[in-house]
């Protein structure tokens, strides 16, 4: 036991001291904040300056401007006074009279000079064709396109209803859109957060598990390979059991992972407690930050998936390190080992949108995919506890089995150098190790 701790301490120290550990610890929270904030910081929060070329009969252009600039105007007259963001953009609208042929050259020049983001033509036959034109250098901005489409639709509908005999005030009231507040039902009843938030959460947790296993798992292989090629292994196993050496190594690397994650969790908790302030500062949906909160029970289960998943792959990687002879050889095999972990990322959409269907269920049961697949499913839906426990039990059994087999390969592998063993030799090692 003492030797395991000594080896554990060495591995932990060697890892924590590296530059990549410091960088990873620091950069990941920065990266995560950036992922959450970037969409609103770039593109989104910008002021959009548009010109409406009005050929349409009144009051369509007025209704359009109101719809584009105000959430829910009580009256078209007060609209212009309170500009607002729609889909993250804030619009400044200038209305010029048509026909478009007369003003086009001027508008294009202003767009070239980057004074304008684009212009919208409301044609005279808009009531019949229900068609507007939008010319911009920013057609790639799907938010702006959707805003204009929605605003034009609202304006036309309001116009139609008004012509059917309703006054403008009641029309806007009638057209008030419905806001859908998504929430997930779980053990405790209702949980705050939108569907989008669960998706973020699932994605983040799954990515973390994937990245950490890939990163640190390969660290285990490298470390085993170093001891094997340096013959340090010979000295070590003359003082301790090979299996203890392997255990100490895996736990040491695991401790480094846990330390890094702990630092991240602290950062995330800080972020979440400040979510209201952050949301205000950066104009993002506070739910996106709140999404990172999880119930203690869920957190515990997610932790179990991470720990077992890490141990499973670390054991495989330790066995791999003992069986190969060079880093290059190890890398090509690592890719192969990592493949099952990657599969759930390919099925991200199915796992989060249809978490209770056979594909998701299967990926959740297979021990090699479960560590990534289950967090995704658990974030997206309420998975029956029995199913979670079965999946965890399968994972645990596989981990123990893998560690046992890897230990056998390890015992012989770290002391044999030269040629890489053939498959038959590996099986022989497993039987005799």
């Amino acid at each position: 036991m003492r030797e395991i701790l000594i080896v554990l301490g060495r591995e932990l120290k060697e890892r924590v001291r590296t530059r990549s550990f410091a960088l990873g610890t620091l950069l990941f929270p920065v990266f995560m904040v950036a992922v959450l904030l970037l969409p609103t910081l770039t593109g989104g929060a910008k002021d959009r300056h548009l010109v409406v070329v009005n050929e349409a009969p009144p009051p369509i252009s007025q209704l359009f401007v109101v719809a584009l600039t105000q959430a829910f105007p009580t009256s078209p007259d007060t609209a212009a006074a309170t500009p607002r963001r729609r889909g993250g953009s804030q619009y400044r609208i200038e209305v010029v009279p048509g026909p478009v042929a007369e003003v086009r050259a001027d508008l294009v020049a202003r767009i070239d000079a980057e004074e304008l983001d684009g212009y919208i033509v409301l044609p005279s036959d808009i009531r019949d064709t229900a068609h507007v034109q939008f010319r911009s250098t920013r057609l790639g901005d799907p938010g702006m396109l959707a805003d204009i489409r929605n605003a034009a639709t609202e304006a036309l509908m309001a116009d139609r209803l008004a012509r059917a005999g309703l006054n403008v005030e009641s029309v806007t009231e009638l057209l008030r859109p419905v806001r859908v507040d998504g929430g997930r039902v779980d053990e405790r009843g209702e949980e705050a957060g939108t569907a989008q938030a669960s998706f973020y959460f699932a994605y983040i947790v799954a990515m973390i598990i994937y990245i950490m296993i890939a990163l640190y798992g390969s660290g285990v292989t490298r470390s085993v390979l170093e001891e094997k090629n340096n013959r340090i292994a010979e000295v070590l196993v003359s003082s301790m059991r090979a299996t203890h050496l392997m255990a100490g190594k895996i736990l040491g690397v695991g401790a480094a992972v846990m330390l890094q994650m702990l630092i991240w969790v602290v950062v995330i908790v800080l972020l979440v407690t400040q979510s209201a302030w952050l949301a205000e500062q950066f104009n993002i949906n506070p739910a996106a930050l709140n999404a990172i909160t999880a119930q203690p029970g869920t957190a515990l289960l997610l932790g179990a998936y991470f720990v077992l998943g890490f141990l499973l792959f670390a054991a495989l990687f330790a066995g791999l390190g003992a069986a190969v002879t060079s880093d290059q050889e190890a890398q090509s095999f690592q890719m192969l080992f990592m493949l099952p972990l990657f599969v759930p990322l390919l099925f991200l959409l199915q796992l989060t949108t249809r978490p209770l269907e056979p594909l998701a269920r299967t990926l959740g049961m297979i021990p090699f995919t479960a560590p990534v697949a289950m967090p995704m499913r658990m974030a997206a839906a309420r998975i029956p506890l029995a199913e979670v426990l079965t999946s965890l039990a399968l994972l645990a059994i596989t981990t123990v089995l893998a560690a046992w087999l890897a230990g056998k390969i390890y015992r012989i592998g770290i002391l044999s150098t030269g040629r890489r063993p053939s498959m038959r030799e590996l099986i022989y090692w497993m039987r005799t190790g």
């Binding site: 030797e3 000594i6 060495r10 120290k13 060697e14 170093e226 090629n229 340096n230 013959r231 340090i232 010979e234 000295v235 070590l236 196993v237 003359s238 003082s239 301790m240 059991r241 002391l415």
Partner: protein
């Protein structure tokens, strides 16, 4: 417990060949013991079995009176493997503390002893340096410190001289001698016969995995000394008459004169004659006798003679099979 290390009919077979066969040896406590043999003789395999790194197929091993499988006893052993290596990215002192603790020292003790050894080896300034910034020779010294710092009662060194410059070979030699003088036992493998001859109290020569001979160096040399004599005469070259007489004597012993040595002497290997007869005739010569001595073979010669024979036998066995 008289023997620090005891092997009884130990064998190890790999799929294709017999690495060690029926090897028995006994290393007296407080001695320096050399395991000699050509490349591939099974020296390293033997030492690895002693260190429980590989399992023997049969036979009995006792390390300091206990079977090595117990591992506890291996804590009192310092082992330097043939191929050297350390954690390259660790600091020198961290490496020493790590290995010291694995051998049962506590961290502070390991730090103190490690620092003393680094000073002794001239590495005092390199305490905090990373191992991969050290030269190869320095790394060897650091590894040697990891082997001896826990003050083992048995030191097992596999080819300890390889890669060391003459200065460090001397440091190694001193350490080996002081370990022995401190009551410890040193087992080393080498194919450097001159080193073994000057350093070892006892040796075991193995070839083809089997023991060729073993025993105290003095006894071995005595057993193989044969009837070889060196004769040196004074100023024989000045007197022609005297030289003719010497020539006549030499002709009589022509089948025995093996080597004419450079400093004016002759080497006689007596097979059909006795040393008494030879000496009597020499004394009758009209020249002064300067030196007449029995020549002991060097370990090197014994090794070449015996291992050469063993190799020839092995080749014959292979071709017969």
């Amino acid at each position: 417990m008289n023997a620090a290390l005891l092997l009884e009919r130990v064998s190890k077979r790999y799929a294709a060949h017999h690495a060690v066969r029926d090897l028995s040896l006994e290393v007296p406590t407080g001695s320096i013991y050399g395991i000699l043999g050509p490349n591939g003789a099974g020296k390293s395999t033997t030492l690895r079995m002693v260190m429980n790194i590989i399992a023997r197929d049969s036979g009995r091993i006792e390390v300091l009176g206990q079977p090595p499988e117990g591992r506890e006893v291996l804590r009192s052993v310092g082992y330097l493997p043939e191929e050297r290596g350390l954690y390259r990215r660790m600091g020198v002192m961290d490496v020493l503390v790590f290995f010291g603790r694995l051998k049962g020292m506590d961290a502070r003790d390991a730090r103190r002893t490690g620092a003393e050894w680094l000073e002794r080896m001239g590495l005092g300034d390199w305490r905090t340096a990373r191992v991969d910034t050290l030269s190869k020779g320095m790394q060897q010294k650091v590894q040697f410190i990891t082997t001896v710092m826990h003050n083992p009662s048995l030191l097992i060194l596999d080819e300890p001289q390889s890669g060391l410059d003459p200065v460090n070979q001397e440091v190694l030699r001193e350490t080996i001698l002081s370990t022995r003088d401190g009551g410890g036992t040193v087992v080393l493998s080498t194919h450097n016969m001159d080193q073994a001859e000057t350093l070892c109290d006892s040796v075991c020569i193995i070839a083809g995995g089997a023991k060729v001979l073993d025993g105290a160096v003095r006894d071995v040399k005595q057993a193989y000394r044969g009837d070889r004599y060196r004769l040196v005469l004074d100023a024989f070259s000045t007197d022609t008459g005297a030289r003719n007489e010497v020539d006549r004597l030499l002709r009589r012993y022509s089948t025995s004169v093996a080597v004419e040595s450079g400093n004016g002497g002759w080497l006689f290997e007596l097979t059909d004659f006795s040393q008494r007869d030879l000496l009597a005739q020499v004394l009758e010569l009209p020249v002064e006798l300067e030196c007449f001595e029995r020549v002991e073979p060097s370990l090197h010669e014994i090794f070449i003679e015996r291992v050469g024979a063993a190799a020839r036998t092995a080749r014959r066995e292979v071709s017969d099979a």
